[in-house]
Amino acid sequence: MQFWIIQGLNSLSLGGLLFLLSSGFSLIFGLMRLANLTHGAFFMLGTYFGATAMRAYGGLSIWAVALGAGVAVAAIGGLFERLVLTRLKTNPLGQVLVTLGMSFIISDACLVLWGGDSIPVPTPQSLRSPTRFFGFVFPTYRLVLVGCAIAAAISLYLLLERTRLGAMIRAGVDDGQMARAVGIPVSNLFTIVFCLGAGIAGAGGVLGGPILSAYPGLDGDMLPLALIVVILGGIGSLLGAFIGSFIVGFIYTFGTALFPELAYIILFLPMILVLAFRPQGLLGHLGA
């Protein structure tokens, strides 16, 4: 029983991390029609920033570090968007290729800067002791992580549905040309959303650090999971990314625990089922 509960919690926390990664990916795709293949690299960059900051200043709280790393990664993302992606507005294929090139550059730069060994990110002192609940023992940090993902989901939802900025983003997603015509600065929105997505990924990288630790190839491990989440949930849909993250979190965790060698193949199954019966994803629109 303990096994199932622990694995269930692990699934939830991986799902939470995946949401932090894929929500930004999905937002960017929805607004800019851009498959941002740098997203895994942004996540990894966040983890490395976090690992370095926590090692240099032991007393820092992980929340402050996550915020700082999120802002730093958002700044890098914003620069990339402004300097490179805006030049390729009429060339969607070129944009994808450039994000791929950028992901190679970032991951190789990480290898140069931080070397090939994995760097652990310490779990915060206050969250180290396990939580007891109905006689079962839970690692507290993972519970907190699930809470973070839910909080992020709610804030993103409120941002999109309840603010002026969110209304402009939704208008841009639904009909970019029309939004431009009524005076919404869509290219500024592009930068904002790209920064936001990169920032969430970077902060998520820090928060995922205590579980995953920073290692070369982390980007390559996370990106396909995010892609599968987005294919499952429907491109451009926040709720779809939320549901898809937890589905993938469960399948990947239980797959790894029960059939360690086949976990990657088991990931295929939901993707194939969804593509067969709902190619637009669980909650996607056909047009997206």
């Binding site: 029609r33 070129g94 290729l97 190679f104 892609l227 987005v230």
Partner: protein
């Protein structure tokens, strides 16, 4: 003029081992393998409008099947090659069904996800694939009893295969089927209205591209006598895609030029800098920003401009 140049070029290719050293012959063999791979990807990217980021799946899987069958299950090279190509082609048929549920960026993401899954599998299933150590100690086949162990003999073997591949893919593209493929790329709805089945045309092309990807994978494993999960990685797919785009997608010779450049860059640059991946990324940015249509279309544009001014 064109014919004389072509004959001269062919003669240089055939006679290359008589005047070049082993290093250059081996480099040429690698170029031939990369060229077949890039040509097969170009069927999808250039002529079909389907940008795949998972083409290394076919190269890697064909190589792994052949490596496993010959080294572990005692297959002779002939049957192993047949099983490996048949298996890779069948896999392309299945992947095609999955990936062609989407188009455009969705197609790209699905092919990327599928190939990353295979890459992860090659790494993790270490009792089958030997994981990060790869499978070493492989042999080259002996077609009709001739040994391919010398650089020159392998080069001629690769040249023969590459020539057949080039001819067959050229025929494929210039056939009426190839025209309908280009039609589906440019105007899928009109083609459907004319009674063509766009999905079927794309699927057949996907399988055909997978088949030639598999052939290049066989040559790859014969040449290296070693296979490692990195041959399935995104980097490997991206190198080929860069070759196609740098050379000029949708042209017949573009991918060959592009693949040659990428391979030369990789070989020469890695002698000076260790950071191939970073360089690859920079070259990607450069090509996309500076010459998005590729080298071959750019050159022919220059040529036609020159003619007009004369």
């Amino acid at each position: 003029m064109k014919w004389i140049a072509a004959v001269l070029f062919a003669a240089v290719l055939v006679l290359l081992p008589s005047f070049a050293g082993d290093f250059y012959i081996n480099l040429a063999s690698q170029i031939l393998i990369a060229a077949i791979f890039a040509l097969s990807l170009n069927l999808l990217v250039g002529f079909g409008g389907m940008t795949s980021l998972g083409h290394a799946s076919f190269l890697g899987v064909a190589a792994y099947i052949s490596a496993l069958l010959t080294s572990r299950y005692g297959f002779a090279h002939g049957p192993a090659a047949i099983v490996s190509i048949a298996g890779t082609t069948a896999m392309a048929a299945v992947f095609g069904v999955i990936a062609l549920r989407a188009s455009g960026l969705g197609f790209l993401m699905i092919t990327l996800a599928l190939s990353q899954v295979l890459w992860g599998l090659a790494y993790r299933m270490s009792n089958v694939t030997n994981g990060d150590n790869g499978i070493a100690g492989l042999t080259r086949p002996m077609p009709f009893g001739a040994s391919l162990d010398s650089a020159a003999s392998f080069y001629w073997f690769a040249l023969a295969v590459a020539s057949v591949a080039f001819l067959m893919m050229t025929t494929f593209v210039s056939s009426s089927f190839g025209s309908s493929l280009k039609g589906v790329r440019d105007q899928p709805r009109r083609m459907a209205a004319l009674g063509f089945n766009p999905w079927m045309i794309r699927w057949i092309t996907f399988i055909y591209a997978g088949f030639w990807g598999g052939v290049s994978g066989l040559l790859y494993v014969y040449y290296n006598k070693y296979i490692h999960p990195s041959s399935l990685s995104t980097t490997s797919s991206a190198e080929a895609l860069l070759g196609v785009i740098a050379g000029g997608s949708g042209t017949l010779s573009g991918p060959i030029v592009g693949a040659t450049l990428v391979l030369l860059l990789k070989n020469y640059a890695s002698a000076y800098v260790e950071r191939w991946n970073m360089l690859l990324g920079v070259v990607f940015l450069f090509i996309v920003l500076v010459m998005p249509t590729g080298i071959v279309p750019g050159l022919s544009k220059l040529q036609s401009r020159g003619r007009r001014s004369q």
